[in-house]
């Protein structure tokens, strides 16, 4: 039973040159207790999906979906009051850039204590409640691996280094004990030791509290080590989705294969200093999207049929959209 279920999500932006389909029929489901990775390069619309789920998109963009539901309730039909309630208690988001998404005029401690839901705070008198808020804040901060709580909780966002900021964003998301955590590139630019620490924390929370995680990133190494299922996105289209195990073993879409090949750590047999296999060109800008399959101009297997958008095909729970997938050796 999927908790978050999105089917055919389409986002259209209106500009002077006509409408641009930034997201084109994106499908995404997150079941309870699973870690779903959302992989794609920058400009592929990962962060747009995250903002679409939170409802943080500008109102002049038109967002349509066949289905976009949270635990059976339609997210698009909700009143903004209900939507906020869901976002407050059940879904938590770690945004990409901690320095810009934190309030610059309040200390970290104030911000963290403010985001503790009042149900968690007991005590008859206000000082007891304040004390308890403080206690919860400190223990959460310790949990994500920030050691000097005294120093950092009384600091302002511009005073902290960015890796502490990233951890702090995670602490703020976790403090309301959500059911789903959306982490938008939480490990970007982190050193390996901190990264494993954060990934271990996620895995532990997933196992002990059965927290579902939507892990948005392009760090394949991190994704492969922790996530159960994976959705690959290219230029606003879902390319392939399925179990991590299956995709890693046998990618069906040429783009997924290129992505997996681009991480040298996955390949033990690769001699050092050899050429890495690449896919030519770079991701198209939103103004110049190719028609049909958007990978078309870069794809080594592209043929005439690729100017039509391929339909989603599935083999068990592994779905892909490609006219000439890798397991069909008919070229």
């Amino acid at each position: 039973m999927p908790m978050l279920d999105i089917k055919n999500l389409t986002l259209e932006m209106h500009s002077s040159e006509g409408t641009i389909k930034a997201l084109d029929k994106v499908n995404l489901t997150v079941s309870s207790g699973e870690i779903r990775a959302l992989v794609g390069e920058s400009g592929s619309g990962k962060s747009l999906i995250v903002s679409a789920i939170c409802g943080a998109l500008p109102s002049e963009w038109s967002l349509t979906a066949d289905r976009m539901s949270w635990n059976g309730e339609n997210l698009l039909g909700m009143s903004s009051q209900q939507r906020r309630e869901v976002m407050r208690r059940e879904i938590a988001v770690v945004f990409q850039n901690p320095q810009t998404s934190l309030d610059p005029s309040a200390t970290l401690g104030e911000q963290l204590e403010e985001s503790i839901p009042s149900e968690f705070v007991q005590g008859r008198w206000f000082w007891q409640r304040a004390q308890q808020r403080r206690k919860i804040a400190i223990s959460t901060v310790h949990k994500v691996g920030i050691k000097h709580h005294k120093h950092y909780l009384s600091a302002y966002p511009h005073q902290i280094p960015s890796d502490i900021g990233q951890k702090f964003m995670i602490a703020m998301a976790l403090v309301s004990q959500p059911k789903l955590l959306i982490a938008d590139d939480p490990t970007r630019g982190m050193e390996p030791t901190t990264k494993t620490q954060i990934l271990k924390l996620f895995t532990r929370l997933n196992q002990t509290r059965s927290l579902s995680i939507l892990f948005v990133s392009h760090d394949l190494l991190a994704i492969a080590s922790m996530s159960h299922t994976m959705t690959v996105l290219y230029a606003g289209q879902t390319v392939e989705s399925g179990k991590m195990k299956h995709i890693k073993k046998r990618p069906l879409h040429p783009y997924t294969k290129a992505l997996l090949d681009s991480a040298p750590s996955f390949r033990k047999d690769l001699p050092p200093k050899s050429h890495l296999p690449t896919i030519a060109g770079s991701i198209p800008t939103l103004q110049h999207l190719p028609i049909g399959c958007r990978l078309g101009p870069r794809c080594p297997r592209a043929q005439r049929a690729c100017v039509q958008t391929p339909a989603v095909r599935r083999i068990h729970d592994h779905s892909y959209s490609c006219h000439y997938p890798l397991h069909m050796e008919k070229l």
Binding site: P161, H218, A224, T278
Partner: protein
């Protein structure tokens, strides 16, 4: 193989004086000894705030060191340089790629002007000769001659990275220093850049010193790895040795963190 670069006793001291009710902040880098061979790739890894970027800046001379000397091909520079002549020769020999290549380019002038600047400042060539060099370099990094007239915002991330690389190799340096050249790049662009750097290294015999958090790439392209902690080199050695038998606790931590991410079974 000959040593192209030797660094001896490079030291940098950041000392904020003690003021009233303020503890003095002291950061000391080094003394650092380092040798780099021709065509060798050296990776610097370590935690944040361990002085990696500072070391890179000291090597290119963007930050003035307090003590030490750098020899390049028997040509001796005091790291605490003063004379103008020394500085010019040094900008020829050591070039740098900065982390966010797009931010390091002036958005209001075309690529040609950006690339012209190092030539104009460091050589005595005529403008037609300079243009020819620029066009040749653009072709060398896999761009077109027409990119001479492009502005920064007209180029994609990968192309901007190529421009940054072109600017670095323009003066035919002997050593190339890069501060996290792959961090801001997407996977497919990243492999393209890695390939390009490997090709250029073979072609020009560049020594390449780079900082990275991505140990997968470090393992792939580096010959030698340097591990830094709190301004000191705590371990250095061949890449395979460091990854197989790390000695220092910091190295062990980094390497085990990396290994815990890498899947144990091979993928076919």
């Amino acid at each position: 193989m000959t040593d192209v670069m030797q660094v001896k006793q490079l030291t940098f001291l950041h000392n904020e004086n003690k003021r009233w009710l303020k503890r003095p902040e002291v950061f000391k880098l080094g003394p650092i000894d380092l040798t780099v061979k021709r065509g060798e790739t050296v990776a610097i890894i370590g935690e944040n705030r361990s002085g990696k970027s500072l070391l890179a800046k000291l090597l290119v001379g963007a930050v003035r060191a307090d003590e030490g000397e750098i020899d390049i091909n028997e040509h001796k520079y005091l790291a605490k340089y003063k004379s103008k002549d020394n500085q010019r020769k040094r900008t020829h020999d050591i070039r740098m790629i900065l982390q966010h290549s797009s931010d390091t380019m002036n958005p209001s002038v075309p690529v040609g002007r950006i690339l012209d600047e190092p030539l104009r400042l460091n050589t005595l060539l005529e403008s037609s000769e300079r243009k020819k060099i620029i066009e040749d370099t653009l072709v060398k990094v896999g761009l077109l001659r027409e990119h001479f007239y492009f502005y920064r915002n007209m180029l994609s991330d990968g192309q901007q990275q190529r421009i940054a690389l072109a600017r670095a190799i323009m003066l035919k340096p002997k050593v190339l220093v890069a501060d996290e050249p792959f961090a801001a790049l997407d996977p497919s662009i990243r492999s393209q850049t890695v390939n390009l750097i490997l090709e250029l290294q073979q072609e020009l015999g560049l020594a390449f010193i780079f900082i990275s958090h991505n140990l997968g790439i470090v393992r792939h392209i580096a010959d030698k790895v340097i591990v830094m902690e709190r301004g000191q080199i705590v371990e250095e050695g061949k890449t395979e040795t460091i990854f197989r038998w790390p000695q220092h606790t910091r190295t062990k931590k980094l390497v085990t963190a990396y290994h815990s991410l890498v899947p144990q079974q091979t993928i076919r």
